[in-house]
């Protein structure tokens, strides 16, 4: 894992990628810092962190598009996969390298609140909490990018799809507001989910019996829940989609609340996508 980590880190700075990422990130961050703190003489630094989250849409694809796709295009995955390394070790090494570049860039921006502290009082712990949230949010986005990069051997496609996925998460909260919350649509949505899972199982295992059994169990659960607690389906779609809303949890950090549950949430989110990445690579070897 360490070897892959070191190689990836070097690769970021052997090509323009690392510099483009850092340059762009620091430029945006600097502009917002200048406009919201320096020009207005305001010590309210946390607002910078909350307004620059859009920068992830652009910089995360830069950071992650190459990670797995380039390996399969250059056939260097053959070297990694035939070495005694585990797939999880490879994926983690790459993930941590991307996260390290991001973290390093983020640490540079810590200069801004330090500058502010010379001229007034700043809310230190609020800013520390904000940074933790910002870092976790970025790390979660990077895990999505890494996953998408493992699906294709074309960097450009990886970048565009990652951008699309992040954009979807970005507008998710806005989408949620327009979604029906009545009971019927909740039940329909649950049924669609069950069918979707069963279809996914069928397409991966080609076993019709297993998928039918899974569908039957799913519908059974829906019926069971319906007869015991009908209210469960009120707003079911919204609750499901909210689970994916990375930004909603980020708001807590921005308000200066540092609680355990969003931290666990972000780490779990990243872990799920890293796990999926490992599965994708393993699966490709089997098919």
């Amino acid at each position: 894992m360490l070897a892959v980590f070191k190689r990836e880190l070097k690769a970021y700075f052997a090509s323009p990628t690392g510099y483009i990422f850092m340059g762009f990130f620091l430029l945006i961050c600097g502009i917002f810092f200048a406009f919201s703190n320096l020009f207005t003489a305001s010590p309210e630094y946390i607002s910078v962190l909350s307004s620059i989250t859009f920068v992830f849409l652009i910089v995360v694809p830069i950071l992650t598009m190459r990670l797995m796709s380039e390996e399969s295009r250059q056939k260097t995955d053959q070297l990694l996969l035939t070495s005694p390394l585990s797939v999880a070790g490879i994926v983690l090494g790459k993930y941590f390298a991307a996260v390290a570049v991001f973290l390093f860039t983020l640490l540079i921006t810590c200069l801004y609140p330090v500058i502010l502290s010379f001229f007034g009082t700043i809310a230190v712990w609020e800013i520390v909490g904000g940074y933790i949230g910002f870092f976790l949010l970025g790390a979660a986005f990077i895990s999505i990018g890494l996953f998408i990069s493992s699906l294709t051997d074309n960097q450009v496609i990886a970048a565009v799809v990652t951008f699309g996925a992040l954009l979807f998460i970005w507008i998710l909260d806005w989408i949620i507001q327009g979604i029906p919350t009545d009971r019927i649509s909740g039940i329909v949505f649950a049924c669609v989910l069950v069918v979707g899972v069963a279809a996914l199982v069928y397409f991966t295992t080609r076993n019709i019996y297993v998928s039918v059994v899974i569908a039957a169990i799913g519908f059974g659960i829906i019926a069971g829940v319906y007869f015991t607690n009908q209210y469960f389906f009120d707003g079911f779609i919204v609750r499901t989609l909210e689970w994916f809303s990375l930004l909603k949890r980020y708001e807590n950090f921005m308000m200066g609340i540092l609680s355990l549950s969003p931290i666990v949430y972000y780490i779990t989110f990243s872990a799920v996508f890293l796990f999926l990445t490992v599965r994708v690579i393993e699966k490709r070897r089997w098919s």
């Binding site: 070897a3 190689r7 250059q74 056939k75 995955d77 070297l79 996969l81 035939t82 070495s83």
Partner: protein, 315 residues
């Protein structure tokens, strides 16, 4: 050392490798011969654990590739058809990285690195970016990568493809040299290459093993129908008639006239009959001097044709 048991690989409906069985003994150099798309690379990818077989199992040194992949992978050095090189690294950086992922400790690395670089002659480019190396050097770095950690088994997928003749000879003698210490599987679609280096040859076609023998036996078996190319000074019609009437000649055809007053003829003999002497005496009696006579080697395509039709006759 290597046991391949009933290995099959399916891609949807397409069967890339079809129930292949073979074993490789310690210290053996096995040649894997087959046309493009025969399943050579797929088989090698399965042995090295890059892809998984649909059915069957592979054992290296007694370890199963699915049950103990790490133990197997430690024992194999793999040089794929396209050397897996990171273009943004220098040769030295790359080989350091490979020793790191192969989990080789520092002391052993230092000792072996110089030796390997000397062996494949890349010491003079160690500081250069792999991106800027020529094809031949890239190939050698790919080979060096496989040698790191002194794995007992080497698997080389078309190691000489894309090299110039001088480099091909160098790599071949290098492989022979390596064969003294390693068990080697080597794939190729060039027959002379395999027969020059390997102790045993497996011919694979459409995912199936069609022949497995020493190169000598194989060529003996295949040279059953001797074919000769002749240049005879004399009138085309008479010469051709004379040769065709000779006992043991299966067929003869004119290949053209390259020298005035002579004719080039391809003669095919009956199985297991040496017609060179009768041919010489018959033509000299008729005072049609033979300007040259040489046996025509079978091309790979013809060998496949022959081996596959033989199989059909047997079954």
């Amino acid at each position: 050392m290597i046991q391949v048991i009933d290995v099959t690989k399916r891609y949807g409906q397409h069967i890339a490798v079809d129930h292949i069985n073979f074993t490789v003994d310690k210290g053996e150099i096995l040649g894997f011969l087959g046309p493009n798309g025969a399943g050579k690379t797929t088989t090698m990818n399965i042995i090295t654990g890059y892809i998984s077989a649909t059915e069957g199992s592979v054992k290296v040194d007694g370890f199963d590739i699915l049950e103990e992949p790490e133990e197997v992978k430690k024992r194999i050095g793999y040089m794929p058809e396209f050397p897996p090189l990171y273009m943004d690294m220098t040769v030295q950086e790359y080989l350091d990285f490979v020793s790191d992922i192969k989990k080789i400790d520092r002391a052993a690395k230092k000792r072996s690195m110089e030796k390997i670089m000397d062996l494949v002659k890349i010491g003079d480019v160690r500081k250069r970016l792999i991106k800027n190396l020529s094809k031949g050097y890239k190939q050698r770095v790919g080979l060096a990568q496989a040698l790191i950690g002194a794995p007992p088994v080497l698997i080389l997928d078309e190691p000489t493809v894309g090299l110039d003749p001088k480099q091909i000879i160098e790599i071949r003698s290098l492989i022979k040299e390596l064969g003294k210490e390693h068990t080697i599987i080597l794939s190729s679609h060039i027959l002379p290459e395999v027969s020059a280096v390997c102790g045993r040859v497996i011919i694979i076609n459409k995912g199936k093993i069609v022949a497995s023998d020493t190169p000598e036996n194989l060529s003996k078996r295949l040279s059953g129908t001797g074919r000769l190319s002749l240049r005879v000074a004399g009138p085309e019609k008479q010469v051709l008639k004379l040769i065709r009437e000779l006992e043991g000649v299966k067929d003869a055809e004119v290949q053209g006239v390259k020298e005035p007053g002579t004719v080039d003829i391809l003669v095919e003999a009956e199985k297991d009959i040496d017609i060179r002497r009768p041919l010489f005496y018959a033509l000299s009696r008729a005072e049609y001097p033979i300007l040259y006579m040489r046996s025509v080697d079978l091309t790979l395509e013809e060998i496949f044709l022959q081996v596959t039709t033989e199989e059909r006759e047997v079954s």
